[in-house]
Amino acid sequence: MRTGRPLSREAVIGLSLAGAYLLFAAVFWAYPFFWLARLSVTQWRFFDEPVFTGARNFLRTVRDPQFLLSLWNVVRFLLFYLPIAVAGALTVAFGLRHVGRGKAFVALCFLLSNVSSGVAMALVFTKIFSTTGPLNALVFDWVGVRIPWTNDPTLAMLAIALVVAWKFVGYYGLILYSGLLAVPRDIYDAARLDHAGPLTRLVRITLPLLNAQLMMVLVFAILVSFGLFTEPFLITGGGPADGTATPQMLIYETAFRRLQPSHAATMSILVSAVSYALIAAARRLFERKVVLA
C-alpha cells in the first residue's frame, strides 16, 4: 500500500463492498472448499472422528467400478444429448432468423421450458414417458409397438437426454441466433455466385462462422451433463442396472446411504477435474479463431 496517501472515500466504499462479498465467500465458498480437500484425505463416517488416510481415497475412487460407470454414463448422455441439442438449437436459430414478425413469440415458446420448474417437469415427463402414457400411445398408433423407456438402459438414457434437450434447446438456440445475426449477408451472395448449394453453405460457411457460439453451447452442455441430478433421480432413479446413474447421484448416495462422505468428497473433486479436462479437450479440438478477412 502506498504510504502517505490515504484511501479516497471512493476506495473505501469500494473496498467495503468487495470485502462484504469476500467475507460471504470465505464462509460459504472457501471454507467448504477446504473442507472438501480435508475430507478427501481422511476417512470419516459421520458418526466418528475423521482419520487422516492420505491418498488412499483417491486410489480407491479411481478404481471404484460404480464411479467409473457413472462417468461413462456422462459420456453416453453426451452422445445422445449433443446431436439432439445442437440440431434443435440450429433449427431454432434458423427458424428465428427466418420468421419475420413472430420472433418474440417463437423465442418465448422455446424459452419457457428453460424457465419452468425442473422438479415439476421431471414428474410430468415420468408420466409422459410411461408405457401407457401419451407418447407411447402416439407411437403405438403409428408403429404398433410401445417403447419401454424406463426399462432399457439405452432407452432410459435417451429419455433423459430428450428431457434435458427439451429444457435447453431454446436457450442454446438463442445463443446460436445471436451468432447468426453477426454473419454478413454478402458472404452468402458470394457463395451463391460460386454455385454453392444450401448444404455446402451451411457446413462450409455458417457453421464455422458460428464457432464461438457453438463452443459456448458445447461447454454449457458438458457442464450440464456433469451436474445432472434432478431428472435421473426423479424419472429413472438411477436407471435399470445403474444405467442412468450420474456422478451427482452417486455422490449423494455414497454420502447419505453408504455413509461414506470422504469417498463422496473425493468423487466430487475427481468429477470436477474430469469435467475440466473434457472442456479443455473440447476446446483444443474444436475451437477455431474465425476471422472475416
Binding site: 401407457t132 419401454p148 445403474d242 447419505f256 446411504r257 455413509l259
Partner: protein, 426 residues
C-alpha cells in the same frame, strides 16, 4: 433513509425467524415416523389420536417418512443431520441390523415389557428372524406374505378353476391366454429397484426351496437347484413372450394386460377406491413353485415384514416402547390395523384369535394372506441388503429379462459378485 431502515429491520426480522429449533431432543413428546403410504398413515392417525386422547403416556406426534427416494436413505440422512425422530417404523430386518451396526438404535430386548409383549402376541416363531446375537434391533409390526393376484374371470375363461400353483400350470394358462403384444400371462418382474427383488426372485426362490435362506452372513447361497428353478421360470416366461418388460403406470390386472401380478394387501384399499370392479374379480394364489404342495399345506413365500426401531439419541426411549407395546399388543389396535391396511400383524395367533375371526370371515383376500403367514420367510438378516439386491437386479434379473445370459450363468455371476462385495465390506 427511511426505506433503508425498513429494509434493515425487515432483514433482521427475517434472520430472527430463521433460527433453528432451539432444542433438538425433546423429553416431553414422542416423535414418530411412519411408512409413506396412505393406508398406514390413516391407521396411525387413529392410533396416535386415541393414545393422546386417553393420555396413556407422553403425547405422540407423527409424520410419514419424508422421502423423495428410498425411505432408508431418508432415515440415514436424518441420522446424519441429527434430525431423526424417537421411534421409526417401516424398517425391514436388514436395515435394522445396519442401524444396529452403526450403533444408532437401542436393543429392544432390554426394554421393560418386551418379554410380555412377545408372549402376548405369540411371536416366538417370528422373533428369531429379527434377533441377532440375542439383540433385537427392531420390533416386527406386520408380516405380509407375498402372493399373486389373478383375474378369476380370465382364469375361468381359460379353463382354470383355481389360481395356478406350479410352473407347469402357469405355462399351460399362458399358452391359452397370451396374445403377443396385447395380452400377457403374468407380471413376473415386480420392478426395477432393489426392493422389488423381494416380490419376484426372492419370493420365487423361497417357494422353490421351501423357505431355505438365500444369504448367510458373508455368502450368497442361491446358486443352487432352487435358485435355478426360480431363475429358469423367469427366463422361460420372458423367452416365450408370456410376460412383458414393464407394466409401469397402468394397472395390468384392470385391463387384462396381464392376468396375474404380485400385489399386496395394501393394494386392496387402492383398488377399492379406484378399480372396485376389478377387485371383485380377484382370486389370490400362491407363488408358483416347482411342485405344488399337494396335501402339504401352503407353500413358502417371501414375507414382507417391517418393524419399528427406537433411536439411541432418544430421551424418551422407555415411553416410546410403551407406546409401541400398546399399539402392537392391544387386539383392538391390531384389528384396526387389519381393517386399514389389510397387512397381517406379526402375531402367531391370527387365525385362532376370536377377535379377528369376524374380520377374516368377511375378507377372503386377507384370509388368504393370513393363511400363509406361518410359512412366509422374512428377508435375510444382512446389513448389505441393498447392495446384495442391487447385484441381484443388475446381474441376475436384468439379464434374464433381456435374454443376455442363461439362467445358470446369470446365477453364478450374481453369486460370485455378491460374495466378492460382501468380502470387501467385511
Amino acid at each position: 433513509m427511511n426505506r433503508r431502515d425498513l429494509l434493515v429491520t425487515g432483514g433482521l426480522a427475517l434472520l430472527a425467524g430463521c433460527s433453528p429449533r432451539a432444542e433438538r431432543r425433546r423429553a416431553d413428546v414422542i416423535r414418530l415416523w411412519v411408512a409413506p403410504n396412505a393406508a398406514e398413515e390413516a391407521f396411525w392417525k387413529i392410533a396416535v389420536g386415541r393414545w393422546n386422547a386417553a393420555g396413556r403416556g407422553l403425547p405422540v406426534r407423527f409424520t410419514t417418512i419424508p422421502t423423495a427416494g428410498n425411505s432408508e436413505d431418508t432415515v440415514l440422512s436424518a441420522l446424519v443431520a441429527g434430525t431423526e425422530p424417537d421411534l421409526c417404523t417401516n424398517v425391514f430386518s436388514g436395515f435394522a441390523v445396519q442401524l444396529a451396526a452403526l450403533g444408532q438404535v437401542i436393543d429392544l430386548a432390554t426394554q421393560g415389557g418386551f418379554t410380555d409383549l412377545v408372549a402376548h402376541r405369540r411371536m416366538d416363531a417370528i422373533m428369531p428372524g429379527w434377533t441377532r446375537g440375542g439383540r433385537v434391533a427392531a420390533m416386527p409390526i406386520y408380516s405380509s406374505p407375498t402372493l399373486i393376484w389373478w383375474r378369476g374371470d380370465l382364469l375361468e375363461a381359460a379353463g382354470l378353476s383355481a389360481p395356478p400353483a406350479t410352473y407347469d400350470e402357469v405355462y399351460r394358462f399362458c399358452d391359452r391366454y397370451v396374445r403377443p403384444g396385447a395380452r400377457y400371462g403374468m407380471q413376473v418382474v415386480a420392478g426395477r429397484s432393489w426392493q422389488d427383488r423381494w416380490f419376484d426372485f426372492i419370493a420365487f426362490y423361497y417357494a422353490a426351496s421351501g423357505g431355505r435362506p438365500y444369504l448367510d452372513g458373508d455368502r450368497a447361497l442361491y446358486a443352487n437347484a432352487a435358485g435355478l428353478a426360480a431363475a429358469g421360470f423367469m427366463d422361460a416366461m420372458f423367452r416365450r413372450g408370456w410376460t412383458a418388460l414393464d407394466f409401469d403406470a397402468e394397472e395390468p390386472l384392470v385391463t387384462g394386460l396381464a392376468a396375474g401380478a404380485t400385489r399386496g394387501p395394501w393394494d386392496v384399499e387402492r383398488y377399492a377406491r379406484i378399480y372396485p370392479d376389478t377387485l371383485a374379480r380377484i382370486a389370490v394364489g400362491p407363488v408358483p413353485a416347482v411342485q405344488s404342495g399337494e396335501g402339504v399345506g401352503p407353500g413358502s413365500t417371501f414375507s414382507d415384514s417391517k418393524g419399528a426401531v427406537i433411536f439411541r439419541s432418544s430421551l424418551v426411549a422407555q415411553q416410546a416402547f410403551e407406546f409401541l407395546a400398546w399399539v402392537l399388543g392391544d387386539e383392538a389396535m391390531n384389528l384396526l390395523w387389519l381393517q386399514r391396511t389389510g397387512l397381517s400383524p406379526a402375531r402367531g395367533d391370527l387365525l385362532d384369535n376370536p377377535r379377528f375371526a369376524g374380520y377374516y370371515r368377511t375378507n377372503a383376500i386377507a384370509r388368504a394372506y393370513a393363511e400363509h403367514v406361518a410359512t412366509a420367510r422374512p428377508p435375510a438378516l444382512s446389513e448389505h441388503t441393498i447392495d446384495v439386491q442391487k447385484i441381484m437386479t443388475s446381474r441376475l434379473v436384468e439379464p434374464l429379462m433381456t435374454g443376455s445370459a442363461a439362467p445358470a450363468q446369470a446365477l453364478a455371476d450374481a453369486v460370485a459378485r455378491t460374495d466378492r462385495m460382501l468380502e470387501a465390506q467385511a
